[in-house]
């Protein structure tokens, strides 16, 4: 089975500087949904740019399905397999019409016009952006541009989709559309690496990795990682609302579960406790599996 394997990489923008990445190791398996969270300037974007060889590590290696990003010959294939959606869609959409932009990647692969237009149609359909096919990018809203940027990457038929803060500066409606799209793409088998500093978004992932000052400091299931409330706050992030609620209830000394991410989970725990005031049911398993 293929995977992205980041093996003990360090990266310096300039020699003698603080490392932007400090001995980072990370694996992403096929079909997995990984959320990479961290405060501004912690190295998230730098790490992301290593995943398709835009930047090569100063030491260590990045391998995509066994291909080294430093190997010149496999670069084209790596760029096809690891699709990258940049933070600002205006830095990514480079053609004069949406349709043409979505076809940019497939054209670079040298596909025939018929194949290219087939891929464009598919990608537009998958992102529900068909109505804008003929429009010029500067006439689209922020959310629409984001979807078009994703479509442009999907048209390459990648195995891994890397998204750098895909919902920044979007209104709640567009944000939901983008997140729903990412989730549905993941369900269809595409591995997702979702870079964000919004922890609520991270709860949807299979796994969360937390970065701080160029290092990965926490890495595990969302419930395990995000319930380490104090550590996460010290880094400069926050935890989901429901996790915070559970953590505060737990601090009252009643053994309330802390591995809670959503309000539904918190409510059901509260209801369980209301039914059984003896505290036996809501065991403190939540606390003990984090350490």
């Amino acid at each position: 089975m293929g995977m992205i394997k980041v093996d003990d990489i360090s990266f310096f923008y300039e020699e003698g500087d603080e490392p932007a990445l400090d001995r980072v190791s990370l694996e992403v398996t096929e079909g997995e949904y990984l959320a990479l969270i961290g405060p501004n300037g912690c190295g998230k974007t730098t790490l992301m740019r290593h995943l398709n060889g835009l930047v090569l590590p100063s030491s260590g290696a990045v391998k995509i399905d066994g291909m080294d990003t430093a190997d010149h010959r496999s670069r084209k294939e790596i760029r096809r397999r690891v699709g990258m959606v940049f933070q600002n869609p205006d830095h990514q959409i480079i053609s004069m019409t949406v349709e043409e932009d979505v076809g940019f990647g497939p054209c670079n692969l040298g596909l025939s016009p018929a194949e290219v237009s087939g891929r464009v149609r598919e990608a537009l359909r998958a992102t529900a952006t068909e109505p804008f096919a003929k429009r010029a990018p500067h006439t689209l809203s922020g959310g629409e541009k984001r979807l078009v940027a994703v479509a442009g990457v999907l048209a390459m038929k990648p195995r891994y989709l890397v998204l750098d803060e895909p919902t920044s500066s979007l209104d709640p409606g567009s944000r939901r559309r983008v997140l729903d799209l990412v989730k549905s793409l993941n369900r269809d088998g595409l591995a997702v690496i979702h870079v964000t500093h919004d922890v609520e978004e991270a709860t949807a992932a299979d796994r969360v990795a937390v970065m701080s000052r160029g290092r990965i400091v926490l890495n595990g299931r969302p419930a395990e990682v995000l319930s380490r409330v104090e550590e996460i706050r010290n880094i400069g992030l926050d935890v989901p609302f429901a996790t915070d609620l559970a953590w505060r209830l737990n601090r009252l000394g009643n053994g309330f579960r802390t591995d809670i991410l959503t309000l539904e989970q918190a409510l059901s725990e509260i209801l369980v406790r209301l039914d059984a005031p003896g505290r036996q049911k809501g065991s403190d398993g939540g606390r003990s599996n984090i350490s």
Binding site: E99, G103, L109, S117
Partner: protein, 254 residues
């Protein structure tokens, strides 16, 4: 939104649907002929162009606003020839004739070009140019990169215009008043806007280069979404224009 004088106007017409390569080549041939015409032939060519623009259903505005833009230039050409022509002394009949002919040629050339740009989208124009210049690749000219640069530049014209507007507004919000003061002050204001805009452009270029690279550009032969193929109407248009060109040629030379 900015509105350039040479603006594509999306309509359904036979002229719009013609192969862009054919239209570009016809424009070039037409321009060469125009430079060799006399008065009557020029008038005939102008009538032909007006007829073509009606056939293409382009609005009058789209065809004549570029002409208005170059009218001062044509006027200068006319005056220059009237005042000091090689055809005769100032205000001579020959001077007027030559002046009118050259000014008319200017206007007809612009009219022809504006019909091309009004009926052909930038995409098609660049695609057509790319195809026409393709043989030059043998000479190791980076034709593909050039057409890519052109299309990216055009894509970002509205974006940069928007950015300039925002930078200007931000300056106004902090008390700048670009519309007043001496020419020197206004110039200084323009320079103050220019620097941040230039910085933004450079930064943007860097980001764009990265995203273009990430999407696999430059790793081999590119294909195209658009196919260029001659259809019946293209052959018909080619035949008609060849006949007209032949007539012109005979008229001019014999």
């Amino acid at each position: 939104m900015i509105n350039l004088p040479c603006h594509y106007i999306s309509r359904e017409s036979a002229v719009h649907r013609l192969d862009p390569r054919l239209k570009i080549v016809m424009l070039i041939l037409f321009s060469l002929f125009i430079l060799r015409t006399d008065g009557p032939a020029l008038a005939a060519a102008a009538c032909l162009l007006v007829a073509a623009s009606r056939f293409a259903r382009t609005p009058w505005r789209a065809v004549y606003s570029p002409i208005r833009t170059v009218a001062p230039l044509a006027l200068m050409v006319l005056l220059a020839h009237v005042l000091m022509s090689d055809a005769g002394p100032a205000f001579s009949r020959a001077g007027w004739e030559k002046g009118f002919l050259l000014a008319g040629q200017c206007l007809v050339l612009v009219l022809a070009a504006s019909i091309l740009t009004a009926t052909t989208s930038h995409l098609e124009l660049i695609g057509g140019m790319d195809r026409l210049l393709r043989p030059l690749r043998r000479l190791k000219l980076p034709v593909q990169d050039i057409s890519m640069m052109l299309s990216v530049a055009l894509r970002f014209v509205p974006v940069l215009a928007e950015e300039a507007r925002r930078t200007g507004e931000a300056a106004k919000a902090r008390g700048a008043d670009p519309g007043s003061g001496s020419i020197l002050r206004r110039a200084r204001h323009m320079a103050a806007l220019g620097l941040p805009l230039a910085m933004q452009c450079l930064l943007r270029a860097q980001y764009l280069a990265e995203s273009i690279e990430a999407r696999g550009y430059g790793s081999g032969e590119r294909s195209s979404l658009r196919e260029f193929r001659f259809r019946k109407t293209d052959y018909a248009a080619l035949a008609v224009s060849l006949i007209i060109f032949a007539a012109f040629f005979i008229y001019v030379n014999y």
